[in-house]
Structures are given as structure tokens and as C-alpha cells.
Symmetry: C2
Subunit: 194 residues, 2 copies
DNA sequence: GTCTATACAAAGATAGAC
DNA sequence: GTCTATCTTTGTATAGAC
């Protein structure tokens, strides 16, 4: 399977940007990783910023695109929602460990992404969750509900470098550790409801 | 109260580095923020990297210095440990919202910090916690225990920019939201034990 | 100790040949 | 479309006057 030059550049950009973030990434490194001349990068994308926007949009969708279709579906029970979200996220992040850190860090500084979050407002107020919680007699807010799922599921990936370098867990054990948590988190989240 | 030039530079560096991280920070901005000439920065600290090390060490200690004294103290019960950690962290982070993001992001790339984590190994294996869990008949690992406390306490601060720009929560409500969680998290964490 | 001026280096962007 | 060479800008470091 042959990649076009354009695809090779995007591929390389995806890899380096997600590892290092926008500022720490050098276009020269992307060119080298892609095996092309630096000038070509500019020929295809005009600027570092343009290339970056393609990647950050893509990654943003990867990370948050799975939330709303699940949460807003009235056919899915609370339990199933947690279960599905945790499973989907865990599987996704095991293949893309840098994803949450990358997206969350760029949201702080990327004007375009902030605008996009606002416009879509997909994650915005969750009336379905809110009513499902109410029906079950829970007074917990939907925001707390979402926050707890994401905290327990995403944070271990964001703190992995810390815990690996501290020796608390070994690189080889990490996937197994996460897989165990995947089974437990749904119960834990249900227990936060009151 | 008059600050010396050196203190003014550190003060400015602390502010800008923690907001933007190492790569995105320009020494010219630090100089401007400090109200001093760019050359003085180099006079006092020789390089951007040297200045940064001072800040990252300081912030690393701020974020992780409070863990071990609490966890390794056998006189403190599990319940008190969770309670104290959550309270201390919440209070600290309400005053330093960028702290966890800053420290965790630099751990990924900062050779010096990685070495320091290894050497101290303060967060490393927690025999005290391990035995306290065992005594109570819990089979949960100390790593899971620590991970859950930190997830539920730190993640909301790391994801704040996302949720604020999405409109799910307003800037003014955030502190209140966090303060509410502070009361709930200890119970939630106890419920993760089995 | 502090500043001005400037050198030096790195990184992004472009012109022009092929 | 692709490359080489080069320009421009910006960030880092230093020399030397006061």
C-alpha cells in the first residue's frame, strides 16, 4: 500500500504532534519522519499551524466524538452507558495513549478548538442523562456523573509517565492494569450516585 | 515589599512556564513580565533551561511532596488518609489550577525530573497502604487505591478548560463544584475497595 | 549589578531550478 | 511535484559600556 506524499506528511505530523504538542514540534522533524523534503511540507500545507489544525481536529473528534451518541440515546440505560463509555475509551486509549493529554493540553491554547467546542456544544448540558438520573431517584448532577467516568478512565493514561518512571508500575503491566480497571469502573461510578 | 531582580524573574517564570509549558514559553515574555531587560535573565540564570529547572522542581515538590508523609504514616487510618489527601490537594489546586497539567506534561520530556522521580522513589511501592488494606480485608492494590484518589481529585482541574469552553460549567461555578466533590470523594474512594 | 547592542542559532517559510 | 538554496523571523546567549 503506497501513501501519497500528502498522506505521509499527515501521518508523520500525527505522530510527532501528539507526542510533543504544537510548540515542541519542529516542522523539520515532521519532514524527516515523513521521509520528504522540508519544502514539501510547506508546499502542501502552507504553514505549521495549518497542518496542526488538521491533526488536532481529528484527535479531538476521536476523543470526544464517542461521548454524545451514547449519552444522548434514551434507549440506553445508565448502566449500559457507563459500561459502553468505559469500554470504548479504554480500548481507544490503549491504542492511543497520548491522546487525552494532547487534546486537553491544546484546548488551553488553541483558539480554533475552543471555538469548535463552543459551536458543537455536543458535550453541553445533557438533558437525557439528567432525566435518567432523576427517574432513578439520584440527585447527582450529570456533570458529576460525566466527570467521574472520565476521571477514572482517562486519568491513568495521563499520569502513566509519572507512575512508570516512579517504578510504581512497569510498562508491561500497564495494559493489564487498565484492563482490570475497565471491569471495575462501572460499579465504582454507580456507587458515586446518590 | 520590594523584590530583587532575581526574584522578579523567578516570579515571572513561574507564572508563564506553568501556563504555557517549557517549549511554548519565550524568554522575552518572561523578561517583559518581570519588567526587566532580556539580558538580565541570562545574567542570573545562564539559560532558559536552568531557569525552568528551578520552577519544575519547585512545582514537582508542591504537587507530590504531600503524598508520602501521609501515606507512609501508620498512625493514620485509611479513611483519614483519603480525607487528608483529598482536602490538601483540593485546597492546593484551587490556588494552582495549572499545577497538575504542568508537572505531568513535563515529566514526559524532562530528563532531570524523570531521574528525580526515580531517585526519591517516594511514591514508590507503598507497603504501609498495602498492609492497611490487607488488615481490613481488602484485596484492592495500593496502586489502584492511589490512582483512584488522584483521578477523582486531579482530573477535574486538568479538564477544566475543556468543560468551561464547552459551557458545561461556568468559571464562577467551578470552585463550588470542586468544593462539593471534596466532601464526596472520600466516600467514593472507600466504595472502590473490595 | 544593570543595561544596550549585537552576535549566534534555530526554525518557519519561500523562490526558483529541475 | 520535488528539490536545493536562501530569506526572515524569532529565540538564546554574550560582549562591553555604564
Amino acid at each position: 500500500m503506497e501513501l501519497t506524499t500528502e498522506e505521509k506528511i499527515i501521518e508523520a505530523a500525527r505522530k510527532i504532534f501528539t507526542q510533543k504538542g504544537f510548540s515542541a514540534t519542529r516542522t523539520r522533524d515532521i519532514a524527516e519522519e515523513a521521509g520528504i523534503n522540508l519544502a514539501l511540507l510547506n508546499y502542501y500545507f502552507r504553514s505549521k499551524q495549518n497542518l496542526f489544525q488538521i491533526i488536532i481536529e481529528e484527535k479531538f473528534d476521536e476523543l470526544f466524538g464517542i461521548i454524545n451518541p451514547i449519552l444522548s440515546n434514551r434507549e440506553i440505560s445508565l448502566e449500559e452507558k457507563i459500561e459502553t463509555l468505559v469500554t470504548n475509551y479504554t480500548n481507544l486509549l490503549l491504542e492511543n495513549e497520548d491522546l487525552p493529554f494532547f487534546v486537553l493540553s491544546e484546548i488551553k491554547s488553541n483558539e480554533f478548538i475552543i471555538k469548535r467546542v463552543k459551536q458543537n456544544a455536543e458535550i453541553l448540558s445533557q438533558p437525557v442523562i439528567e432525566s435518567q438520573l432523576k427517574e432513578r431517584g439520584f440527585t447527582t448532577s450529570s456533570f458529576n456523573f460525566i466527570m467521574n467516568i472520565m476521571s477514572l478512565t482517562l486519568f491513568p493514561f495521563m499520569s502513566k509517565p509519572l507512575f512508570v518512571s516512579s517504578g510504581l508500575i512497569k510498562e508491561e503491566e500497564f495494559a493489564r492494569f487498565i484492563t482490570e480497571r475497565k471491569k471495575d469502573i462501572p460499579t465504582w461510578v454507580m456507587n458515586t450516585l446518590k
